[in-house]
């Protein structure tokens, strides 16, 4: 069986993460995704690590593969009018365009939705930036850390006695691509039935807020403005938390609040948790601090992996706090084919993720490397835009394909 989107063609004009990851969802579903980039204004993602071999080089970062696997790369310098013409030519022959410029940038280049859809009425196009294409602040430039601040996430994460820590990394960059991809797939379905294109506009800060809705509703319905709660994220559960284990910065999450889980934990940890004050949920909640320090005292000298196995064997929800080293080596992640082996001309064999989910009997694409910059420029301009070799040579001579 062929992949869900085999035969679909996507022009990906975006950079860094939200747009490119949206494109990667489509590539993993079998679409031919053409990434437009330029050596003159390199995708900042290519300047971020981790670089294989410790050499900072645009073709050596694994982050680029993580986000751009399976695409074809063409280099076009959009500061040339002729470069913008090349993009217009490509846009006539694709099903989807994705872009993540600051709002208004593409319009100024004559490549906005109104221009592209006029020439390709079946086009489905997504724009995504910090605040979206409308509203008084639409022109603000932003990255995922700013998205986290504007979505409310950064304010919510941290210790009450210290400044906030915010969520890890450029948080809205990980949240937003799903919303963009879902909208694109819904719009493609409508296009296939009704013949009509569609324009999708997703603000990254607004997408982040979707993952925080319970806290927003707490404010809107109950008038409470939530703040930082430290590690005490769920005051209704006990024991439930992160507990230290043997070694440096080793931790396990245990959530044994449900009665059966609590009884299993108590017998496993005996006599550490035998205090009759902990007999009932009410008792555990009222003595939460003491309970949690008793659990921590029990976990502290133990090896976290052995402890996780012991707890899981007793049916108790528990997992070590996995770091990157754990994640790349977990056999559970290999079992459904999440990781595959890629072979890249610059960085050789590497373990890299495949699709985010499985579909059968249609399939998703296996792990693939991301493209070298401009590796498919000629082939794409010939095949997709129908350019002659002479025209391509002329464009290259004029510095348009840089």
């Amino acid at each position: 069986m062929t992949a869900s989107l085999a035969g679909l063609r996507v022009l990906d004009l975006s950079w860094v993460m939200v747009g490119p990851m949206t494109g990667r969802y489509l590539a993993d579903l079998g679409a031919d995704v053409i990434k437009v980039e330029s050596r003159k204004r390199i995708d900042p993602l290519r300047t971020l690590g981790p670089f294989v071999g410790g050499v900072s080089h645009p073709e050596r970062t694994l982050s680029y593969h993580f986000i751009n696997a399976g695409k074809r790369s063409v280099t076009i310098d959009l500061s040339h009018e002729a470069g913008r013409d090349v993009v217009r030519s490509l846009a006539r022959h694709v099903d989807v365009v994705i872009e993540s410029f600051t709002a208004g940038t593409l319009d100024r280049m004559g490549l906005g939705w109104s221009s592209l859809s006029a020439e390709n009425p079946r086009l489905v196009m997504a724009s995504t930036c910090l605040f979206g294409q409308t509203g008084p602040e639409r022109a603000a430039a932003g990255v995922g850390t700013l998205g986290a601040a504007y979505s409310g996430a950064s304010h919510l994460v941290g210790w009450p006695d210290r400044p906030p820590t915010g969520p890890f990394s450029a948080w809205t960059d990980s949240v937003t691509p799903r919303f963009v991809a879902a909208c694109l797939l819904a719009a493609l379905r409508r296009r296939d039935r009704e013949g009509k294109g569609c324009y999708v506009d997703v603000a990254q800060a607004e997408a982040g807020l979707q993952f925080l809705l319970p806290e927003y509703f707490r404010f809107a319905a109950n008038g409470v403005v939530p703040g930082r709660r430290g590690a005490d994220v769920d005051p209704h559960r006990a024991p439930s938390g992160t507990f230290p284990c043997a070694g440096v910065d080793r931790w396990i999450a245990i959530d044994a609040s449900a009665d059966a889980h609590w009884r299993a934990l108590r017998s496993l940890a005996a006599p550490a948790l035998d205090d009759p004050a902990f007999d009932t949920l009410l008792g555990r909640l009222r003595n939460r601090e003491r309970l949690h320090s008793s659990v921590a005292g029990w976990t502290k000298p133990q090896d976290r992996d052995a402890l996780e196995r012991g707890l899981q064997n007793a049916g108790i929800p528990a997992h070590v706090l996995a770091d990157g080293d754990d994640l790349i080596d977990d056999p559970d992640l290999a079992a459904d084919g999440y990781y595959g082996r890629i072979e890249d001309p610059m960085i050789g064999p590497q373990r890299m993720r495949g699709a985010q989910f499985t579909i059968e009997p249609a399939r998703t694409m296996p792990a693939r490397p991301a493209p070298l910059i401009g590796a498919s420029t000629d082939e794409v301009l010939r095949e997709v835009a129908g350019f002659s070799d002479a025209k391509i040579d002329a464009l290259r001579r004029d510095g348009v394909l840089a």
Binding site: M1, L29, R41, P44, G49, P50, F51, V52, G54, F66, Q133, G135, P136, T145, A149, G152, A153, L156, V157, G158, P163, T165, G166, F168, D173, V175, R178, A182, L185, R189, C198, V200, A203, E206, Y216, F217, A221, N222, P226, V233, T242, P244, W251, A253, H261, H319, L321, D323, G324, L327, P331, D332, A335, D336, Y338, Q350, F357, I359, A362, T364
Partner: protein, 398 residues
């Protein structure tokens, strides 16, 4: 947009966001709950701080535009009713217990949102949302390095997995549309939540320093720049960017020099090439910039700093709380909000429009369903008489 798509969502925490995204995009989503109510109804917070099956605010946030039917899928009558409903649906969405995976033979797109891999050693592992986030990586990297790791105080595995499942279901539908065959779709909550661990699994194979749990940025010339700066009424997030975004940092130093004293040669730093020259000079420039920002922000409000950043074009943002968000002019004028009814008769503004379209609009439509609100109409639609529905109720099946 998804007119004509009917989704049966056997409700679990991790299916709720998926069903909601599909419902917002126009699908007819029917939540199937056990007679005692879906687990999502018991998630905090609660309306007016009073618990109740109709008072869960997580439930209200993630179930608008859906209808609810109760049936006990473990009973043979309940299973039979489900199959009658499924005959009218294109999609069945379930949690880790996939009761109805065989429906793919009838042309249904079946999506199971499991905790771990379907075939891996952890396939039967006990879990809660917290343990999945722990397994996925974000928790380890969230917080301060000298204290325990932290979590976003909203269950994130269910959000990540639900959003992922919306994409996965639509991908399955695309294949079904083309081939006319049912599709078996598998989503792992752990894999979905790993998206927020970003590239951290790929550092171990390189010689680069792993990401660290810290609110500070990676060290540059030995200095870890803070990401968060105190201001008069809260905190702001600041990126002292280099490389591709270096020009923004230049605009920031030019602006900050108009607020507080900053040496002209520091203002002149070429952040796109930074660090350059000898390390001690680079460290001096970076530290002077951090000190100037700290001083300038301490007397300003977070909104004033956000305004300056947007006006002058640099990376700084106020840390908005939920009250700030409800008032933020950008969200309001863009049309993020739509009115959503709550069971106490009030309505709130909810951030409904997670996307805007040229030819479609997300609306809050119907509020989240009351338990079993639509059982009668839906069972009548598949041919049951009023007497039969009452009999099923008397037997505790619906």
């Amino acid at each position: 947009m998804l007119d004509g798509v009917r989704v049966l969502e056997v409700s679990r925490s991790q299916t709720m966001m998926a069903g909601r995204v599909l419902a917002d995009l126009g699908a007819d989503v029917i939540v199937v709950e056990p007679p005692g109510g879906a687990e999502g109804r018991r998630l905090p917070p609660f309306l007016g701080e009073r618990a109740g099956l109709e008072r869960g605010l997580t439930w209200h946030a993630l179930n608008r535009n859906k209808r609810s039917v109760t049936l006990d899928v473990a009973s043979s009558d309940g299973r039979d009713l489900f199959l009658r409903l499924a005959a009218t649906a294109q999609v069945v969405l379930e949690g880790e217990q996939a009761h109805f995976a065989s429906l793919t033979q009838n042309g249904v797109v079946h999506c199971a949102v499991r905790a771990f891999s379907e075939n891996g050693p952890k396939r039967a592992a006990a879990f809660t949302d917290r343990t999945i986030v722990a397994a996925a990586g974000p928790a380890y990297y969230t917080g301060d390095g000298d204290r325990a790791p932290l979590y976003i105080p909203v269950p994130q595995a269910m959000m990540e997995a639900g959003a992922e499942a919306a994409v996965a279901v639509l991908a399955g539908l695309a294949a079904r549309e083309r081939d006319g065959e049912g599709q078996r779709v598998g989503v792992s909550m752990r894999v979905a939540a790993m998206m927020s661990a970003f590239s951290s699994p790929y550092y171990p194979g390189t010689q680069e320093a792993r990401p660290q749990r810290s609110s500070e940025r990676r060290p540059v010339v030995g200095i870890r720049a803070p990401q968060f700066y105190a201001c008069r009424d809260g905190f702001v997030q600041v990126n002292i960017s280099t490389g591709g975004f270096g020009a923004l940092t230049r605009r920031m130093t030019e602006w900050v020099a108009t607020c507080v004293p900053l040496a002209a040669d520091v203002v002149d730093t070429d952040w796109s090439r930074f660090p350059y020259g000898d390390d001690s000079d680079a460290a001096r420039r970076l530290q002077a910039t951090i000190d100037a920002l700290t001083l300038a922000f301490s007397t300003m409000t977070k909104f004033a700093i956000g305004d300056a950043a947007r006006e002058h074009g640099f990376f700084a943002a106020p840390l908005l709380d939920m009250s700030d968000i409800s008032r933020f002019v950008q969200y309001r004028e863009r049309g993020l909000w739509d009115s959503q009814a709550l069971p106490d008769g009030r309505s709130i503004d909810a951030p409904v429009r997670f996307a805007h379209f040229d030819s479609f609009e997300i609306a809050s439509g119907r509020p989240a369903p009351a338990l079993s609100e639509h059982t009668h109409e839906l069972l009548a639609e598949v041919g049951l008489s009023a007497q039969e529905i009452q009999a099923l109720f008397a037997h505790g099946i619906v």
